[in-house]
């Protein structure tokens, strides 16, 4: 299979790298707590949630790319990850499109 990378060229990340990622994760955690205690609703309602999720996504990206070695994995793995999030998005979006527009069972009210 052309896109295959043999796992044994595993010099892709060394101890310092891991520690760096770890630091990012810890900082993210602390940050997410303190941001949550500040009221950001003056920006727009729900800004807090958005920020919290952004941080969470960053942390997830770090874990996936470096701890789970996605960064050095074949395209198929990227595809799998992308697909799963795409399908999650489908589920969220298409369920919510009902709840957000469901003012009533009829059009005119």
């Amino acid at each position: 299979m052309a896109e295959h990378h043999h796992e044994n060229d595993h010099e892709h990340i060394a101890i310092p790298g891991y520690l760096g990622v770890f630091a990012v994760l810890i900082v993210g955690t602390i940050l997410t707590y303190f941001v949550a205690t500040i009221d950001l609703d003056w920006i727009f309602p729900g800004a807090n949630t958005l920020v919290a999720l952004l941080i969470a996504f960053t942390k997830m990206a770090c874990v996936m790319l470096f701890f789970m070695h996605v960064r050095w994995s074949p395209r198929l793995i990227w595809l799998a990850v992308a697909a799963s999030f795409f399908w999650l998005a489908i589920m969220f979006a298409y369920v919510m499109q009902d709840y957000l527009t469901r003012s009533t069972g009829v059009f005119t009210q």
Binding site: Y94, V95, D98, Y99, T101
Partner: protein, 560 residues
């Protein structure tokens, strides 16, 4: 040594090869602990047949009850349990595993020239999970059954039904993981186990279809698993997110349930389409028309299939705007199915069409799936769906797709690959008869239900107003024909196991990899690992088959 030589070496052997996957070991343990995909497939074959029988019995009971308007054969309560069990047995324990777990399991490794599935142990585990879930479901049936309908709508299933929802729900939850593991196994296998030269576009469409199906299994099944789990928790704890009395939402259950269960319909029919692609192309000895389009339409169906579940909720209190979106996407999904239909038809053009039993099933599929698909448009079109949903029109529609599509294709596939699986040939005569009976009986059973549906006869009714009786009598009559047609294969196929004449490795002289090994195949499928040098569906000289020799042998008087 490459595959051609392998063919020349074993190609015309007409007896049963002395050593094959069936007789290499014969102890019970060698079956129960086997990691050979072919043996696992056979065990699946037996199991799903059992569940098909059970479901069939329930179906017969339903039709008998509906012979008369009053609920006289069964009380309403019993009837509710009967149609529920019919749905559960057929959908979760027959339709979903049938083609992938039996034919797919047996053929995918052979078709791509592999020794086995990539994860044989997982394969065996999934069989045991299936058995366990099936046993649990049957237990639930024994102790009293369940009467929620196979859709388990809340709050009836969580709060009001006093039947064995927990057990059966649990069975379905567990069974989900069986199909997840199967799908996972197929994807891995198709990615990593293809023989040298077996490029993606040399894969048989059967394999493409199963790739699409596996995607749906992996992405959809977990959702129904968690949904059923939530249902179970709510039923035990008497509190939960589907409970309207504390502000929960019963319709959320329908969303989550159909997020899987609509794609599940494609899990059931896509493999059927794969089988039919094989049949049509091979029995008209002509490269299938528009290979790429059929291949990608399978993927398209798998993806778009996830975007349309809301068309089950047009009248359920879902926002009408959401209904619009879902209806639109439903119409879009119609297109890839249409593409397949046209391509199959075009494949017949200027072919050399032979009407062996499998081909009869293949053509039958085309006819019935045509109707099934078109009536899908009726239900996808909102204004009409408001009138038709929850009536017998729906029942007829999905039986045309599920039985007329999936089951017919499954039977066709079983007949087509039977010689390969067992090395024996069934009686062609009885094969043709049963194919005809099934086709006629099926139409007689379910076509009247379209009319009943438009007249407004609601589904899941044990008793119905008398003006509906005439058509119901037609339907029941048809059902009896259908039943006979479905039983006959069991008899002559089993009979052929012992008395059928040896089929030879390649009874129809077809180019697919599965026909280039002995039948039944050896333990690791090929005497020598094949190297693929021909395109898919290559019937001419490029296939490397010695057709001249084959003709000579065909001309010679048959030895009986």
């Amino acid at each position: 040594m490459n595959a051609q030589d392998a063919v020349l070496e074993t190609g015309y052997q007409s007896g049963i090869p002395p050593v094959n996957y069936l007789n290499i070991k014969t102890t019970l343990a060698s079956w129960l602990l086997t990691k050979d995909h072919k043996r696992i497939a056979l065990m699946y074959l037996v199991s799903v047949s059992v569940f098909f029988m059970i479901g069939g019995l329930f179906a017969a009971t339903i039709r008998l009850e509906l012979l008369t308007p009053a609920s006289d054969l069964l009380e309403t309560g019993t009837y509710n349990k009967v149609f529920t069990e019919h749905g559960i047995m057929m959908i979760f324990f027959f339709l979903i595993p049938s083609i992938p777990a039996v034919l797919g399991n047996f053929l995918i490794p052979i078709m791509i020239g592999a020794k086995d599935l990539a994860l044989p142990r997982i394969n065996l585990i999934s069989l045991y999970i299936y058995w366990f879930a099936g046993a649990l479901a049957l237990y639930g049936l024994m102790v009293g059954g369940v009467d929620t309908g196979w859709t388990f709508y809340t709050p009836y299933s969580t709060t009001f039904s006093n039947t064995y929802v927990m057990i059966v729900g649990l069975a379905i939850f567990i069974n989900g993981f069986s199909s997840i593991l199967t799908g996972l196994n197929f994807i891995v296998t198709i990615h990593t186990m293809r023989a040298p030269g077996m490029t993606w576009f040399r894969l048989p469409l059967f394999v493409w279809a199963h790739y699409a199906v596996s995607l749906v299994m992996i992405l959809g099944t977990p959702v129904v698993a968690i949904t059923v789990l939530l249902l179970a928790i709510e039923r035990v704890s008497r509190v939960g997110i589907f409970d309207p009395s504390i502000g929960g939402d019963p319709i959320l259950f329908q969303h989550l349930f159909w997020f899987y269960s609509h794609p599940a319909v494609y899990i059931m029919v896509l493999p059927g389409m794969g089988v039919v692609s094989e049949l049509i192309s091979n029995f008209s000895r002509k490269k299938i028309f528009g290979y790429e389009f059929i291949a990608f339409s399978s993927i398209a169906i798998a993806v778009f299939g996830f975007l349309v579940w809301g068309h089950h909720l047009f009248v359920s209190g879902q926002s009408p705007y959401a209904g619009m979106v879902f209806s639109f996407l439903t119409m879009v999904v119609a297109v890839p199915s249409a593409i397949k239909m046209f391509n199959w038809t075009a494949t017949l053009y200027k072919g050399s069409v032979s009407f062996d039993t499998p081909m009869l099933y293949g053509l039958g599929f085309m006819g019935l799936f045509l109707i099934g698909g078109l009536t899908g448009l009726f239900l996808g079109s909102m204004g009409l769906d408001v009138h038709l949903t929850d009536t017998y029109f729906v029942v007829a529609h999905f039986h045309y797709v599920m039985v007329g599509g999936q089951v017919i294709a499954y039977l066709g596939g079983i007949h087509y690959w039977w010689p390969k699986m067992t090395g024996r040939m069934y009686s062609e005569f009885w094969g043709k008869i049963s194919a005809m009976l099934v086709f006629v009986g099926f139409n007689l059973t379910f076509f009247p239900q379209f009319l009943l549906g438009y007249m407004g006869m609601p589904r899941r009714y044990a008793a119905y107003p008398p003006e509906f009786q005439v058509l119901n009598i037609f339907s029941t009559a048809g059902a009896s024909v259908l039943g006979i047609g479905m039983l006959m294969p069991v008899i002559y196929l089993v009979h052929s196991l012992k008395f059928g004449k040896p089929a030879g490795d390649n009874p129809w002289m077809l180019p697919g990899l599965e026909w280039r090994t002995t039948s039944p195949p050896p333990l690791e499928n090929f005497a020598t690992p094949p190297v693929v040098t021909w395109e898919a569906y290559e019937f001419g000289e490029g296939s490397g088959l010695d057709l001249e020799e084959a003709r000579r042998r065909a001309a010679a008087p048959a030895i009986l």
